[in-house]
């Protein structure tokens, strides 16, 4: 069993971690700690940023950023597979801004671009925060919970008249 959770708590007393199961450790923090935490984890062997995701918790008014980190090299000091770290950071839903983590992990770049256009999160310091996937501008970023894709389709695409029957 790994001790990464304890290490984090030892280094950052304000951050709470808890083990979901033997394969996953959850780390809850806020956006001020992001870079220092990522740097600490990267130096500590968690050098693989698997995923940056985001969950729209509309009823809480929160956009929850999720960073999934794992190790490339097996931690020799502990037996068994290393757990995956799931770092969660809540952002305000109205003005979601956070510093870009590209300085730590290069491959954060497309993830952040995607979250920018899908959730409208502004990553400060990102060099090319322009649309990645989408052709159109949607009023509400499409992956937010209040974006109703079925209504959008009916209003936008179904109203276009057929040319011939």
């Amino acid at each position: 069993m790994s001790k990464v959770g304890e290490e984090i708590t030892a280094h950052f007393p304000e951050i709470n971690t808890h083990r979901i199961d033997e394969k996953r450790v959850e780390v809850n923090t806020d956006k001020g700690y992001l870079l220092s935490l990522l740097n600490f984890l990267k130096d500590g062997g968690y050098d693989h940023l698997g995923l940056i995701s985001c969950v729209d918790r509309m009823e809480d008014g929160v956009l929850q950023l999720v960073y999934v980190l794992s190790r490339y090299a097996q931690d020799e000091s502990v037996p068994g597979p290393d757990p995956t770290l799931v770092v969660k950071i809540p952002l305000s839903r109205e003005e979601p801004t956070i510093v870009s983590s590209m300085g730590v992990f290069i491959n954060a770049e497309p993830y952040e671009r995607e979250l920018y256009e899908m959730f409208g999160i502004d990553f400060t310091g990102h060099p090319r925060l322009d649309p990645l996937f989408l052709e159109r501008d949607y009023d509400i970023p499409p992956l937010r919970k209040d974006f109703d894709t079925r209504r959008y389709v009916t209003e936008e695409f179904e109203t276009i008249p057929p040319v011939e029957d």
């Binding site: 894709t149 057929p162 040319v163 011939e164």
Partner: protein, 186 residues
């Protein structure tokens, strides 16, 4: 080639050659493309029927739209279709271009492809097997024979409507309308 075909060749070389020399634009618009490689290689070998992929739309006369069409893809599709020389045929593969298929409620795929470009034939299925593609092609032959594969003529006739539908999706398109006078000097 039996005698009946020979007579046909002499009577209607245009239709016959169009039938047996369908050159396909190589454009993987969706997941239907996964069945194109098997169809053109050893197992099914579409080249038997003169169907082969070519490099640019200028050289092609068949546009296989292989699957769902996202907003970002539709624009190159229109561009590519307009660059093909006439006569040209379009066949849509899979259920998605017909009515959206399983992506009917997606915010980023258009549901009815025939609102934006004319389609000569559909091959239903998700995704159509190579056999289905061949059936579609042979059906296209019948359509060509009967003169019903006239999508390019319809496009020419009702260009204004097609164009206005396209521009409802994209706003102003980057290229000038077809079939109108152009600045010949540049």
């Amino acid at each position: 080639m039996d005698r009946r075909q020979l007579v046909k060749w002499l009577k209607e070389p245009l239709k016959m050659s169009n039938k047996y020399s369908l050159h396909v634009v190589y454009f993987c618009t969706g997941c239907g493309i996964i069945e194109i490689p098997p169809s053109i290689t050893a197992r099914w070998d579409a080249e038997r029927f003169g169907v082969k992929p070519v490099a640019t739309p200028r050289q092609a006369n068949l546009f296989l739209i292989t699957g769902y069409v996202s907003l970002k893809t539709l624009k190159p599709i229109i561009r590519t279709y307009e660059q093909m020389p006439e006569p040209k045929y379009t066949v849509a593969l899979g259920s998605c271009p017909i009515d959206g298929g399983m992506y009917w409620d997606s915010y980023n795929t258009i549901n009815h492809l025939d609102k934006y470009i004319p389609i000569d034939g559909y091959i239903a299925g998700c995704m159509p097997r190579p056999e289905a593609i061949f059936t579609g092609i042979t059906h296209l032959w019948t359509l060509i024979d009967e003169g019903k594969a006239d999508g390019y003529e319809r496009y020419r006739e009702r260009y204004q409507e097609y164009r206005s539908n396209q521009e409802r999706l994209y706003g102003q398109l980057e290229w000038p309308p077809l079939y109108t006078g152009r600045d010949d000097d540049v």
